[in-house]
Every structure is written in structure tokens, then in C-alpha cells.
């Protein structure tokens, strides 16, 4: 007797040989085209389905509830109850084993262990559903610790110090609360306490702070959860909570810190950059940026928003560094640019430097050289590694007068070598960070005019989208890259083809936007891409970015995060990933047709 479905998988491994044979004789295989309905809500369920190949979505109205992949069994709930409450739709080309309901129910009633699987499965699903909702709503509060918050460092005064001393100290350390030592006791005094004492109680500013200090302080440990800080503040009606590590007071958390933590607090880092008095201050702020990324991501902030925040912070950082390292004469005659992904604003973690300088006219060589070295070195000291391709201001090729850049554009287009393509690509993605931004606008306009109407050149340029295959096969199974174990390369298979395809179209149409997302939006608005497809493409792009960011965060700092292991993803993520790769595949076909790449 030939085996129809795999009987070694749960729950079929609990069956007797005769029972298996009985079920197999009641089994058919059905093929579903993408989008075909397997079970409609409200419809009587005639079959128990096992996914042989492909994937099936479970939908509650419009909302996607779960996804079933190969070997998954569904829908035990409606099989028992008779009718489906949700609809089940093939997500892609799908083959399903379908076992007739009567046959399954007969075995359920005969074989208790088999039956138990069904009832367990149903109750487990119900409780999972409830849990997921809770997790999504309170996730960041439940998982973050007090140590993740911004904690005002502890500063102490004595209870015999005067109100005036306390006031000055608060101003000096830029904080609104101080710890007060009074023998064995420790208390807290706030700016509001001081004002009230003087204004309302008419105390002298020479009086000791002892009488206006609160000694009933509430404290928690850095290991406590953020939500307990919030609970404590509410319960004790306090705006501040002391943080105590063991028996040592280490700082104070204010309610505003908890709130800004929940809402994201990148403005704090921005403030530090703006207030920096020199390179050393900037270095400290640069370190905050990376910590900020992790914090924002943990709070569930979307990757494209994080990229926007990070690129904004990085640019402020570069602009300030430019101020500190470039001679005023140089600053007046130049434009500092960032290129590649930094220019597109798609950098989430700190990566290689990709920057350059466009000069309006030649400047004295020693002044320029000094800047080249000190700027690149400063960034390196902040933790931005030098660019392996040497695309940095240190390289005279990337820091020279506008006229020289423009002269080179013509040779890049006339002799389309891989290096020339790369130069065009990274320069077209450039964005001005400091100095005279009109220099970059002028350079880019020249670049766009150089390639305008050059169909053959543009086709050559676009052709790089075929540099790496889309890791997806028929029945949309994910193909993991060779030599990388079971890992998938998100950058090669997903991010790069989108970025480059979009860049090719944008260059052809002379768009001045730099971000891939903005470019897609414009291409959709101008009908170069169908608006609906533009939306899908943009979603796919954001999805890759967020997956990459997640794997960057979980990997050791500095890792590229381009590899992801499908086996480690949730089945939902795995399916979304396939979807995204599907869009990439479609997009590549569009680009191939558009630039007539079949001629290669």
C-alpha cells in the first residue's frame, strides 16, 4: 500500500496501521492557485487539510490570523464544530492533502490519543490568541528594565547645606532633584520643594534643607521592569523614583523619562550633539546613537522610522564634525555629502563611512589635506570604520572641485565598467549634510543630464539587478544561499535588487529624491510604476529593512545583519519574507522588460 501522506508526523504517529490505511483511503490531494479559497467562513468543513506544499492563510475578515506551511494541519476546530468561523485562503500555489471529515471523526472517536490531539490543539490555539494580543499591547513595558531608562545620575548634598547651595547645585548639574544625606537617612529634595519653602513658607535661603527634604523615598532596582516604575509612581503619587543598586543610590528616574522612553527620546541625543563643545563630546553622543537604535526597536518602533531618526542623528553628527574640523574658508567653498545607503537615509546601524566633499573652486592644498585627514579620523574615532572602497573625503577622488566631478561623469557613462556603475550609483544617492548644498544639486543635475536619453547606458546600469538570483522557487519555497548553511541573504536577494532597480528608474526619470522609499513614491505618483505595485514594493522594502535591523540587533554589534535563517523566523515572518521576495521577483521582471535586458 503506497503511503499518501507522511504518517510519521504528529498526530498520525499515534494511529494503528489499519487506521492509517483507513484514513489514506479517504485522502485526496487538491491543488489551489494563489488566492483560491480552501474553506470559506460559515461553510461546512468537509475535510481535514495537511499542507503538502505551499501555504494557506487563516483570515478573520480582513485580518490575517495565521499561516499554515508544509506539514501543518488545519482546521481541527471547524472540523469538530462542523463549520469554519474563519476563512482559509491559499497564499500561493498550494497542494493540500484532504482527508474526508467523516473518516477523521470516526478515528477521533475510536482512538483517544488521536482525539486528544484535536481537542488540545483547539484549546491551545484559543489561549495563544489571547496571549498574543496582550503581548502586542504591553510588550515594551513588560520587557524593558529600569536600566534601559534615562536615569539622572545621583548627586548628594548634606541636610545641613542651605537652600541656596541646593539651588546652585541643581543648576550646575542640570537636574531638578538631589539626594540629601542626613546621618543614616537619605532623602530627596526637588526644585519645587525649594521654591515652595522660600515662596510659600517664607523660609530664608540660608536655612538648611533638612526640614524641606522628603525622607519617605520610594526606590527600585535597575533590574526592575519599567512598568513597576510606572506603577510605583501612580501608587505613591510621586513624580520621581530613586534607583537603588543594592544599598547604594545610583540615580533618579522621573515620570517624564518613563514617558519619553515609551515614546522614544531621540531628541535627547540630538541635544547632546548640538551642545557638543568639541570632538570628545561628539564621540560620547555617537555612542548614544547605537544604544538608541536598540531601545527604539525594542519598543516596537518601525525600522523605517528608526532609519530616519538614525540618519538624522548621523547627519547632525557629521555636520558638527565638519564645523570642528574644516577651516571656515573651506566650509564656505564646499559641500559635505554622504553617499550610498547613508545618502539614501537607509542606515540603521553604524556602517562604513561613505562621504565626500564637493568644492566650488580649488582651495589651498594644505588646508584641504588637513581637513581630509582630521574629518575621516574623527569619524573613525566615533566608530565609523573607514570605507573599504575608499569612498571618503580622505580620498582626493571624492573631495575635489565640482568641475572635476562633472568631467568624470562623462567618462563614467562613456565607459561603463562595474566601477563606473558603482560610482554613478553611489553619487546619485548622495545627500548634502553641511556647507553649500547647491553644489550637490548642480552636480546631480549634471549627472542626470549626462545619462538622459542614453538608453543603452541605462540598460547596462540597470542590469546589475540580475547580479544575484531571488532566493525563491516555484511554490515559493525559500532557497537558502549556498555556502551559508541554511541562511538567506536579505541584502543580495531583497534589498539590493529593490534599491538598484528603483535607482535605475529614478535616474532615468531624473528624480532628485535620494531615499528608496521616496523614489518609489514618486515613481508611483508619476505612473512609472503602477501605484498599487509601488505600494507593494515599498512594503516589501520596509519589511526587508526591519528584518535586517532585527538580525543586526540580535547579532554581535557591527555585524552586517544581511543573513537571516528562515528556520529561526516565526512562520508568519517566513511567509511575509516569501511575499516580499515574490514582489522582488515581479519587480525584476518589470525592470528587465523596461530596460529590455533580454538583449544581454
Amino acid at each position: 500500500m503506497p503511503a499518501v501522506f507522511d504518517v510519521s508526523q504528529s498526530p498520525f504517529d499515534r494511529l494503528e496501521a489499519t487506521e492509517i490505511e483507513f484514513l489514506q483511503d479517504a485522502t485526496d490531494i487538491e491543488y489551489y492557485a494563489p488566492g483560491a479559497t480552501v474553506l470559506a467562513a460559515g461553510q461546512a468543513t468537509e475535510f481535514l487539510c495537511i499542507v503538502l506544499k505551499g501555504a494557506v492563510e487563516e483570515r478573520d475578515g480582513e485580518e490575517l490570523v495565521s499561516i499554515f506551511g508544509p506539514r501543518d494541519v488545519f482546521d481541527s476546530r471547524s472540523l469538530v464544530q462542523g463549520a469554519a468561523t474563519r476563512s482559509f485562503v491559499a497564499r500561493e500555489e498550494t497542494l493540500l492533502y484532504q482527508i474526508a471529515r467523516d473518516a477523521v471523526l470516526k478515528i477521533v472517536s475510536k482512538n483517544d490519543r488521536f482525539g486528544a490531539f484535536f481537542y488540545l490543539d483547539i484549546s491551545r490555539k484559543l489561549s495563544e490568541m489571547a496571549h498574543e494580543e496582550e503581548e502586542a499591547r504591553f510588550g515594551s513595558l513588560m520587557r524593558s528594565h529600569v536600566r534601559d531608562l534615562f536615569v539622572h545620575p545621583a548627586h548628594f548634598i548634606n541636610s545641613s547645606d542651605t537652600i541656596e547651595t541646593a539651588g546652585h547645585k541643581m543648576r550646575d548639574i542640570n537636574s531638578n532633584a538631589l539626594f540629601v544625606r542626613d546621618g543614616e537617612r537619605v532623602g530627596v529634595i526637588t526644585g519645587m520643594n525649594l521654591s515652595k519653602a522660600v515662596v510659600l513658607n517664607r523660609m530664608s535661603i540660608d536655612d538648611p534643607v533638612r526640614t524641606v527634604t522628603h525622607f519617605d523615598i520610594v526606590s527600585l532596582s535597575p533590574d526592575d521592569f519599567v512598568f513597576s516604575a510606572l506603577l510605583m509612581m501612580t501608587k505613591h503619587n510621586k513624580r520621581r523614583v530613586a534607583v537603588k543598586d543594592g544599598d547604594k543610590f545610583v540615580g533618579i528616574v522621573e515620570d517624564i523619562d518613563v514617558l519619553s522612553f515609551l515614546a522614544g527620546n531621540s531628541q535627547l541625543v540630538a541635544g547632546r550633539i548640538d551642545r557638543a563643545a568639541g570632538i570628545a563630546d561628539l564621540s560620547a553622543a555617537a555612542n548614544d546613537i547605537e544604544a538608541q537604535v536598540r531601545r527604539l526597536r525594542r519598543q516596537g518602533v518601525k525600522a523605517d522610522v528608526i532609519a530616519e531618526i538614525v540618519s538624522d542623528l548621523n547627519r547632525r553628527l557629521f555636520a558638527r564634525t565638519f564645523e570642528f574640523t574644516a577651516h571656515p574658508d573651506l566650509r564656505e567653498r564646499s559641500c559635505l555629502i554622504v553617499m550610498g545607503s547613508e545618502g539614501r537615509g537607509e542606515q540603521t546601524m553604524r556602517t562604513d563611512q561613505d562621504n565626500g566633499l564637493i568644492l566650488s573652486e580649488p582651495v589651498p592644498e594644505p588646508m584641504l589635506n588637513e581637513f581630509r585627514e582630521s574629518f575621516t579620523a574623527a569619524l573613525e574615532s566615533f566608530g565609523f570604520p573607514p570605507c573599504p572602497g575608499n569612498v571618503m573625503v580622505r580620498n582626493p577622488f571624492w573631495s575635489r572641485p565640482l568641475s572635476e566631478f562633472v568631467a568624470d561623469f562623462r567618462s563614467w557613462v562613456a565607459l561603463p565598467t562595474p566601477d563606473a556603475h558603482m560610482n554613478v550609483a553611489i553619487f546619485y544617492d548622495a545627500d548634502a549634510v553641511a556647507g553649500r548644498s547647491e553644489l550637490l544639486t548642480e552636480a546631480k543635475t549634471a549627472l542626470i543630464n549626462t545619462v538622459r536619453g542614453e538608453r543603452a547606458y541605462l540598460a547596462h546600469f540597470a542590469r546589475a539587478i540580475d547580479a544575484f538570483p531571488t532566493p525563491i522557487g516555484f511554490f515559493r519555497n525559500l532557497i537558502t544561499s549556498e555556502g551559508a548553511g541554511d541562511a538567506l541573504d536579505l541584502k543580495k536577494g531583497g534589498v539590493f535588487p529593490i534599491v538598484h532597480g528603483v535607482r535605475s528608474l529614478a535616474l532615468e526619470h531624473g528624480l532628485m529624491e535620494t531615499g528608496t522609499d521616496q523614489r518609489i513614491l514618486r515613481l508611483g505618483e508619476t505612473n512609472v510604476l503602477k501605484p498599487e505595485f509601488a505600494r507593494e514594493l515599498s512594503q516589501a522594502f520596509r519589511y526587508f529593512t526591519s528584518l535586517r535591523l532585527d538580525s543586526q540587533i540580535t547579532q554581535t554589534p557591527g555585524a552586517s545583519g544581511t543573513l537571516t535563517k528562515p528556520a529561526e523566523l516565526s512562520s508568519m515572518d517566513r511567509e511575509l519574507l516569501r511575499d516580499a521576495f515574490g514582489v522582488v521577483k515581479q519587480f525584476r521582471d518589470i525592470i528587465r522588460r523596461h530596460f529590455n535586458l533580454a538583449m544581454f
Binding site: T27, D28, L95, S341, V391, P418, M422, A467, F468
Partner: protein
């Protein structure tokens, strides 16, 4: 070589057993039968069928619950080479039915439905030889070759000189189908049926199978 349609007409006129007239009638709409034989060898004239498996397809549904699988007892002994391929030894086929007992049931199972297969010409030639001997006709059914469907979807627009790989393995791989143990007649028929429903759907939707191309170089460091 006499064309199949001519033979069909001839056999329709000369069929000995009138009870098999139904073979010349059109099968139920949108139904097909995927078929596969395991044989003692590859010589259509001399070798014999050991197992024959068929599975009906109704629309997109592969009716595995109504499969036809028969082990036959060949008239001659099993060749060692064939045993290596399908792992059926002489003792295994001893219990099989005599071939002439199989055909009435097989023909009723198939009826006028089109036959679907991989390298179907061989299977049909094997079946024809037997059916001709017992009932006096050859299979009049329309034939659908899955490798041809596959070729159209993958190489239909290929430039001349493109290397075509039409092996069973290649098709399975491109379609991402789960490989069941091969050289089991039922498994082969079932895999062929899966290929058929998938390829037919792709054709209807105008989808194509991507060919491997030479890939240009691009430095992605930025």
C-alpha cells in the same frame, strides 16, 4: 507509422468486444488520469509490465482515494537490471495478478479521460501492446505529456541553442514538489499528477518558469 487518430477510427470500427465502446466516448469534463508503469525493461516489444498505477484528476483535485494500483505477474522472468530499478523481485511479483485480469478494470477506471504522464509514449506503448492482445484496440485516449507542458513554460521563448533539461528531477525541482520515492508506479503517477495540476494552472495564469541566466557583477559594498 500510422497516426493515432487513424488508428482510433480503425479501432472504433473494428472493436471486438462491444462492451468497451465507452473507451471512445468523451470522458467526464475536466477529468484526467495520470498513469505510470514499472516494467521489466525498456524494450516495448519484449519487456513486460510489473506494476501499473493510475490516479484520477478532477479539476484541481487529485483523487488519491480512488487510485488504481495493480501488481502484475509478468509472463517471463524478471531481468536483474529491472530489479535494481524498481526493487521488485521475482518473489514479490508472484502474488501479482495475471495481466489479462487487470485490463478490464484498468479500462473502466480510465474510460475516455485523457491520459497524463511523463515520457507517456513509452507507458502507452506498453499498455497498447497488452490491450490490443486482450480487447483488440489500442488506447484511443488523448495524451498529455507533462514534459511538453514544462518545456513550453520554461523554454518556449528560449533563444535557439539553449540547453534544455527535461528530466523528471529537473521538473520536480523547478516546481518545488516534494520528491516521493521514485520508481514506485503509484508515486510516479502521483508526482506526475501534481506536476500536471501545477503546470496547467501556471499556463492558465500566464506564469512562466524562470531560466538560469548569466549574472553580471556588481559591488554592493555601498
Amino acid at each position: 507509422m500510422i497516426p493515432r487518430w487513424a488508428k482510433r477510427l480503425f479501432h472504433q470500427a473494428t472493436i471486438g468486444d462491444q462492451s468497451y465502446r465507452f473507451m471512445f466516448e468523451k470522458g467526464p469534463p475536466n477529468e484526467f488520469v495520470a498513469v505510470d508503469c514499472e516494467t521489466t525493461g525498456l524494450d516495448v516489444k519484449k519487456d513486460e509490465i510489473i506494476t501499473i498505477a493510475a490516479v484520477r484528476i478532477r479539476g484541481n483535485r487529485i483523487l488519491t482515494s480512488e487510485r488504481f494500483v495493480k501488481l502484475a505477474r509478468p509472463e517471463s522472468d524478471m531481468a536483474a537490471d529491472a530489479i535494481k530499478v524498481h526493487h521488485l523481485r521475482q518473489v514479490d511479483v508472484e502474488s501479482g495478478q495475471r495481466l489479462y485480469n487487470i485490463w478490464p478494470e484498468f479500462l473502466h477506471f480510465v474510460g475516455g479521460r485523457p491520459l497524463v504522464g511523463y515520457f507517456l509514449e513509452f507507458d502507452v506503448a506498453m499498455i497498447d501492446r497488452n490491450v490490443l492482445r486482450f480487447i483488440g484496440i489500442e488506447m484511443p485516449n488523448p495524451l498529455i505529456e507533462v514534459s511538453k507542458l514544462y518545456y513550453e513554460l520554461k523554454y518556449g521563448d528560449a533563444p535557439p541553442g539553449t540547453h534544455c533539461d527535461l528530466t523528471f528531477r529537473a521538473i520536480m525541482k523547478d516546481l518545488g514538489l516534494p520528491a516521493l520515492a521514485q520508481h514506485d508506479a503509484f508515486n510516479d503517477a502521483l508526482m506526475t499528477a501534481m506536476m500536471f495540476v501545477a503546470l496547467r494552472d501556471m499556463k492558465q495564469r500566464g506564469a512562466r518558469i524562470e531560466r538560469q541566466r548569466d549574472r553580471p557583477r556588481f559591488d554592493m559594498a555601498h
